[in-house]
Amino acid sequence: MVDLKEVMETNNMVASENLDVRTITMGISLLDCMTPDLDDLCDNIYGKITESAKDLVSVGDEIALEIGIPVINKRVSITPAAIVGSSACKTAEDFVKIAETLEKAACKVGVNFLGGYSALVQKGMSKADRLLIESIPEALAKTDHVCSSISLGSTKTGIDMDAVKLMGETVVKTAEATKDRDSVGCAKLVVFCNPTDDNPFMAGAFHGVTEGDKVINVGVSGPGVVRKAVSQTKGESFEVLCETIKKTAFKITRVGQLVAKEASARLDVPFGIVDLSLAPTPAVGDSIADIIHEMGMEYCGAPGTTAALAILNDQVKKGGIMASSYVGGLSGAFIPVSEDSSMAYAAEIGALTLEKLEAMTCVCSVGLDMIAIPGDTSASTISGIIADEMAIGMINQKTTAVRVIPVIGKKAGDTFELGGLLGSAKIMPVNPYGCADFINRGGRIPAPVHSFKN
């Protein structure tokens, strides 16, 4: 039988360590909405999303109340829009119309983000893929809830460098299109290598074509809980440290599993996966950088940080995998700079640099995330940053991503402020030396040798 100590431990995690379930994300296939007529397509999309997700928010709130643990976000992911709109959209403006439809549907069902304004171009771009990418700046400027992700490479296919070049330019254009709001459009735009079909987290969630008609995926959270547990192991050996993280991750993930099963049953939608990712928020203490600090680094970014993050990531997986019947998505630790107040501070005082963040992405779940860079950073330099990150993912057979925000009109050291979960940070300096000749070569980087396993 449950005892008082266990109940108090759980409730303390909620009250003072920010324990929550970060997101319930409903994946919705829009493949059955496809038709050559744009207006019909938009009607079909709106109808399918608003019908499928009509109870998502209320069910999420209901479960949160009954278990006494907040469920912060309720979200929707859809089949990549470049596929859905491939026969109806003849121009970039046609794709913007789809984005506006998605925005309307997101507002109607009350979710705080909708992901899947996406294209998968890791080996090449179709006409529709190009049109969707071309439409991104306007689509993200005209909408508040729509998130876009583009897959540019994979271990199996190599990297589409034409698309990498195009996305460098698109990031700049998206920043320009939202320059009146600290270039917020770029916070809703991410590029991937080896993306997952069942990621519940934004901005990169989309509902892969290998998925069923609808699915419930849940993203857990809990950096604050792990930080507290790690703080109690000061001076102890790595064995004790690892065991502590593992046990804590198990508990956190069990909550995610419970929420996923409940949401799936109440919404009558199959349960997909639980994503084990530790996702920080700007709330004090709910921080990956604070965990790194508690592990023994003066500040996140100091020598030893990559090893510490590797331990964290691995132990979270080891604890989490046993706690859930299906684990998927990105499952690791996120290191978004502006969304993690201690990470942002470490960057501000120079403890954490872009290059160190790049090294850290080799051992954690995603990549260069929520990093504000000077507004005059050239498109080719952004493509270079993207290419580096894609190469890390391709060679290491893992997901990597880039979500950088060139804040138009601001320079290194200035503050940018997006508010809410997106947070704020100082703008980080970028290596000033160019890579345009490399980016302008065109074509594809071939798949690496270790991808030939057949």
């Binding site: 039988m1 449950v2 008082l4 108090m8 109340l65 009954e66 278990i67 006494g68 069990r254 419970l258």
Partner: protein
Amino acid sequence: MANRTIITLAGTDHPGIIAEVCNYFAQNNINILDLSQTVVQEYINMMMIVDLSKYSKTFPELAQDLDAVGKKVGCTIKAQREEVFNMMHRI
């Protein structure tokens, strides 16, 4: 609705707290299955396991009613389904 629910109460101790809570349970057909409490320096932490199978209202109503009882006795009272604790603390 789940039958077994955990009620937790925290606040400054004074006579009549548990009486007030139990009174609500009695009026609403809620059966108490287990009760434990600790008092440390005037501060009370109490947990009850209750059975809601004969309770006629909804879970949100229970939460609301317990809020009101809590205000009356100067404590915070929460209801949570037992399952979450079993999930977290048992393999």
